[in-house]
């Protein structure tokens, strides 16, 4: 731009110093000035926009940038698998961080020396195998998985090059053998292989960590313990091959304890026959405990009444079979007597009168003809007669010719005594407020009659040894010969007892079974359910009653019971 000089004010003499140009030169100058003006204007606009944008971004920023800077969120201890806890929050399975030892053989300087040092530092590791691994041509070999902190320290002290640790996790079962079959276990890579661990493998693996809620089961460590202790004692005393036990809520189907013996330590040895879960995967001919269902369906369908009876004096011959009684009766037995004295003949006749069709309908509603719907992969399909002939109807009437799992039997008995509603057994607690899913199997009136009848069995029938001072127990014995080659084996028994208590308003249904128990001097060499399983049930009830805070039944008028407080995990039940 050409600057026009202004005349100095101090100078009184006006001198026009402006240069005037005319013609060509004047026009050229004018064009140049205009071009400069346009260019300057464009620049001014451009800088103005940048300036405005700068103000906009710095002062009136539009949320692209948070007004307060935040650091990265706190990382919680991330574990690859969620915990499993019992109903009271007692830890049943958890992941622990460990270190796994690996080597890069190429970087190991002296494999022989390293191998002997490692074998010395880690007992249980053979020098030969380590040497073989270190001498290999691979770039990565596991030396040992899941080292204890002390072992890790010992290896670190060796200061061997080419040997390093990788953070790993190990599934640990603090309760050891107590929950071996129910909880199951995982493989070394944390994949569920059995039990709850397998059923809920996906759910347990997703979203783990200390902020992820654990998987809660209906099982109760205390009940589980006392059931297992009792079964283990009985199994040793009767030199039985195995034992099974279930404690279930009478209403709702929640399984509180589930024990199968022999069991295994999921932290160590997981292979072999002990993995077999007798409670859910074993199907057994239960014998007389089935008479509960025969009588219940006969009463419910109106086939018999409590005043009726049958002639049980003579062995019953059907086709080529003969049905006998363990203790032959004198002759005519009333319906309650047939049940209380556990007459096979009477029950078979009752089942015959009920008929195959009604029998199957009732057994189906009691969940005895299809596999139990428990949250475990190890579930037995019941063995049912096929075809269902008349003779099958009669033998099923007293528990032969049909094999079900202990869990199925327990759930069915729960339905008979709890007012007649069948609840599928479950290991997962209901969501609070969620309705109980069950269906009516028998009427409430029949259920009341059945409660009275199985109470009589303990009061003056085959189940006297299940009586407990202070608690009214009702139950039924079951003794079945195991099938073998060419018929039943007289000395190989499945002896069981199924009980409900308190019988007037059942809270728990308990099932105890011994596989091939042998009589002892204390049992006068009897190995039947009444002599082996019934006393076990009595001892379990004697412990479970106070544990559950149940008032002793000989004082029904008492309205309040001393509170029994338990310290333990959060939200203690009962």
């Amino acid at each position: 731009m050409i600057r026009r000089a202004t005349p100095p004010e101090t100078d009184p003499v006006v001198v026009d110093r402006r240069v005037r140009l005319d013609g060509l030169a004047h026009r050229a100058l004018k064009v140049g000035r205009h071009r400069l003006m346009v260019a300057a204007g464009l620049f001014a606009v451009a800088y103005g926009v940048v300036g405005l944008r700068l103000i906009d971004v710095t002062l009136f920023n539009d949320g692209f940038e948070p007004p307060v800077a935040r650091s990265a969120p706190l990382r919680h201890a991330q574990l690859a698998r969620r915990d499993i806890v019992d109903r009271n929050g007692v830890l049943l399975a958890t992941n622990l961080p460990t270190a796994s030892l690996y080597a890069d053989p190429k970087r190991v300087l002296d494999p022989a020396d390293a191998a002997s040092k490692l074998a010395r530092a880690l007992p249980g590791l053979s020098r030969a195998t380590v040497l073989e691994k270190l001498a290999s041509r691979r770039r990565f070999v596991w030396i040992k998985r899941n080292l204890a902190p002390r072992q890790q320290d010992a290896v670190n002290r060796l200061g061997l090059p080419g040997i390093a640790f990788q953070r790993a996790e190990e599934r640990v079962y603090p309760q050891g053998r107590l929950f071996s079959h129910a909880v199951g276990f995982t493989d070394v890579d944390g994949r569920g292989l059995a039990g709850i661990e397998k059923t809920f493998d996906g759910a347990l693996r997703g979203a783990a960590g200390d902020d992820a809620p654990p998987l809660r089961l209906t099982l109760d460590a205390r009940i589980q313990y006392l059931l297992r202790a009792e079964l283990a004692r009985g199994m040793a005393a009767f030199r039985a091959k195995g034992a099974a036990g279930v404690v279930m809520d009478a209403t709702g189907g929640a399984v509180r304890a589930m024990v199968s013996l022999p069991d295994f330590d999921p932290n160590r040895d997981r292979d072999g026959a002990a993995r077999f879960n007798r409670v859910t995967l074993g199907a057994y001919e239960m014998g007389s405990t089935f008479k509960i269902f025969t009588l219940a369906m006969a009463l419910d369908a109106g086939v018999v009444s409590l005043r009726d009876g049958y002639d049980a004096g003579k062995p019953l011959r059907v086709a080529r079979f003969v049905i006998r009684d363990y203790k032959p009766a004198k002759g005519w037995l009333s319906v309650p007597e047939i049940f209380i004295e556990s007459s096979n003949i009477g029950s078979a006749k009752m089942a015959r009168d009920v008929g195959a069709k009604i029998q199957r309908a009732y057994l189906s509603r009691l969940g005895l003809l299809t596999a139990a719907e428990i949250e475990l992969p190890e579930v037995a399909t019941p063995l049912v007669p096929s075809p269902w002939r008349d003779i099958a109807t009669m033998t099923v009437g007293y528990g032969h010719g049909i094999a079900v799992s202990p869990l199925q039997l327990t759930a069915a008995v729960a339905a008979v005594v709890n007012g007649g509603v069948f609840y599928p057994p479950t290991l997962i607690p209901r969501e609070p407020g969620a309705p109980r899913v069950g269906w009516r199997a028998i009427s409430a009136r029949t259920s009341a009659k059945m409660r009275w009848l199985i109470k009589r069995v303990v009061e003056d029938g085959t189940g006297k040894k299940a009586a407990v001072p202070g608690y009214a127990v009702g139950g039924k014995t079951g003794t079945a010969e195991k099938p073998g080659r060419g018929g039943y084996r007289r000395k190989a028994l499945i002896s069981s007892f199924v009980a409900a208590f308190p019988i007037d308003e059942p809270r728990f249904v308990i099932f105890v079974m011994y596989d091939e128990p042998r009589g002892t001097k204390a049992t006068s060499n009897f190995a039947t359910g009444g002599w082996t399983a019934a006393p076990a049930v009595a001892r379990i009830v004697a412990r479970l009653g106070p544990l559950a805070g149940l008032p002793p039944s000989d004082a029904k008028q008492r309205t309040r019971v001393l509170d029994i407080a338990f310290k333990g995990g959060e939200g203690v039940a009962f």
Binding site: A69, S71, L74, R75, H76, A77, L79, V90, L91, L92, T94, L96, P97, V172, P174, Q175, G176, L178, D210, A221, R222, Q224, Y225, L226, A229, V468, P469, G470, Y471, A542, R543, G545, P546, L547, G549, P551, P552, A555, R558, T559, R560, V561, L562, I564
Partner: protein, 110 residues
């Protein structure tokens, strides 16, 4: 005036630069502390997790039963030991006056 405003602007800018650096350093410091705390927290969380497992292991019912049998004169509660509060034996009448308390020498009354 020109020289004055330049100096003033220089002081303002210098102050801003200094302040900005101070804040930046303080933030770096705090972030370092936060990271340390986070690490410590994570370590504690892991330790708590391990200790919870150990707690569960040491509180196995079997072990507790063994310890109780060895160290305590206690047996599992029996049904007969549970009674209702109404059935509790009535407590002795409570003294309501000073006279009823007897001599003030603190000697226990029979």
């Amino acid at each position: 005036m020109r020289g004055g405003s330049v100096v003033a602007a220089g002081i303002v800018i210098g102050g801003l630069v200094f302040g900005l650096f101070q804040i930046k350093l303080a933030v770096q410091d705090l972030e370092g502390r936060l990271a340390t705390l986070d690490r410590a927290l994570l370590k504690s969380e892991t330790a708590i997790h391990v200790l919870r497992a150990e707690w569960a292991y040491l509180n196995r019912p079997k072990r507790l039963a063994r310890l109780a049998a060895r160290h305590l004169d206690l047996a599992p509660l029996a049904a007969g030991q549970i009674i209702a509060t109404e059935r509790m034996p009535a407590s002795r009448p409570v003294a309501t006056t000073f006279a009823a308390l007897g001599p003030a020498d603190g000697a226990p009354r029979p």
